[in-house]
Symmetry: C2
Subunit: 265 residues, 2 copies
């Protein structure tokens, strides 16, 4: 059912994605998940929930390493990630890539497209992913009409910004081992909050090269540091599976304090 796309023009990649035929039964699921998330961000009224359910949307699927949005593209849609993992990244003119965030099911992506007309970064799938596409202008209209909804969405973007600030600190001032450990802690914590499983044991969706691009390191060094973390006894690895054997010691190594996630994310 999935086709693989590898070659695209610069704009409107999403139009070439696969429409999921068999998703209609799950339409409600998609927004139930979002509403659940927004409820945690602000106290919604019934009218807010109804307004969300009334939004037009399309369900799409994309294969791994597929660009959803490219830097400079016109911003037309917001999407809710339903399954799979996605990252945002930017590149220098010399071609070095920096991943600026990871996203997991339940995350609302590119909410900034509501109010900024051009994408300032790329959005790329890490694994195969499905998501609900909502036209930015419709969501914007609803946000204008429903103050509580606007507040929930705004709050989500503010938490995003807080995470970026922590990443600046992570990449700017922590050594390689702590950086990687911090990234693992954040991934585990957000994963748990999103209801995707326990933080002590999980499968990493990203390659070591992607970890390197998120932490400002090289994949070779990431590999060595993962071995050191294992040698230190704070994690046990098996392929992409990671077990954090001692969460409090891991947090110390990672210098991780979840306060910046603001009880949500």
């Amino acid at each position: 059912m999935l086709e693989t796309y590898t070659d695209f023009g610069f704009y409107c990649f999403i139009d070439r994605l696969v429409d999921e035929e068999n998703m209609t039964a799950n339409d409600n699921d998609a927004f139930t998940r979002v509403i659940h998330k927004l409820e945690r961000l602000a106290p919604l009224e019934q009218a807010d929930r109804d307004a969300i359910r009334a939004l037009p949307f399309r369900i799409k699927t994309a294969p791994p390493n597929h660009y959803l949005v490219k830097e400079g593209a016109a911003a037309t849609d917001c999407c809710v990630l339903l399954t799979g993992y996605v990252c945002r990244h930017k590149t220098t003119s010399s071609g070095d890539r920096q991943i600026v965030s990871f996203h997991m099911p339940g995350d609302i992506l590119d909410l900034q497209h509501l109010l900024l007309s051009r994408a300032d970064h790329n959005l790329e799938t890490i694994t195969e992913a499905t998501f609900a596409l909502v036209p930015a202008e419709d969501l914007r209209r609803v946000a204008q009409q429903r103050p509580l909804l606007a507040e929930a969405l705004w709050r989500d973007t503010l938490i995003d910004a807080s995470i970026f600030r922590e990443w600046v600190l992570n990449v700017g001032r922590r050594d390689a081992k702590s950086r990687i450990a911090h990234m693992l802690c954040e991934f585990a914590a957000r994963r748990e909050k999103a209801g995707l499983g326990p933080p002590e044991r999980f499968n990493l969706p990203m390659t070591q090269e992607q970890i390197a691009d998120a932490t400002g390191l090289t994949s070779v060094h990431v590999n060595r540091m993962l071995f050191e973390l294992a040698a230190d006894g704070v994690i046990v690895r098996d392929k992409r599976q990671v077990e954090i054997t001692d969460w409090s010691r891991m947090c110390r190594v990672a210098d991780f304090n979840a306060a910046y996630l603001h009880e949500a994310a």
Copy 2:
């Protein structure tokens, strides 16, 4: 007129700042500047302008190196910077500091306090600074009642987030010389957009150590790189004064593209 405060409890620093007696004449100026900024972010109606002018606020002054907000503090106010320069920063448990943003007159600081209850970073003056303090709950109420105003403020926070993403890239993937050059370009560009003077020649308010903390380097290395930038002929320095002699070459060295500032900031 200015007293110097150096020792504070952990919360509510702002209460101990000096109230400016002679600022009443300038009350309108304070909000005129903000309204002007918000007009660029969204098309306001007269009622929006009136709502802003009706907000309660206090004008305060702080000396250099003065904390306005500390990480973990309850978030009670938003402030508009009227004069002077300010930075936001975070620290690792080992005490290393990372500056995550610089702010200049006209910037609205800590807008995230509208919706996040605790500060996740410090806010500290670089130079002596004056600002207007607005209780977060009043601003929040106005944002709920005036959708266009909410949109302008939200957009401002989204641009903030875009700048953080660029900083992650800057600190994560550029070499020392480019990082510093990039920081200088951003400072020059934002300064110009804020109507504070031409981008080709300006006085840096921050020390080389603060530049180091913003770029994830040491002050020693910042010093050497500033000399190299001068030796390369892209800048001329005299004390804290910087002249960018060839803007397009400087942008190339810095890998600077102002798109991420989204025509505002």
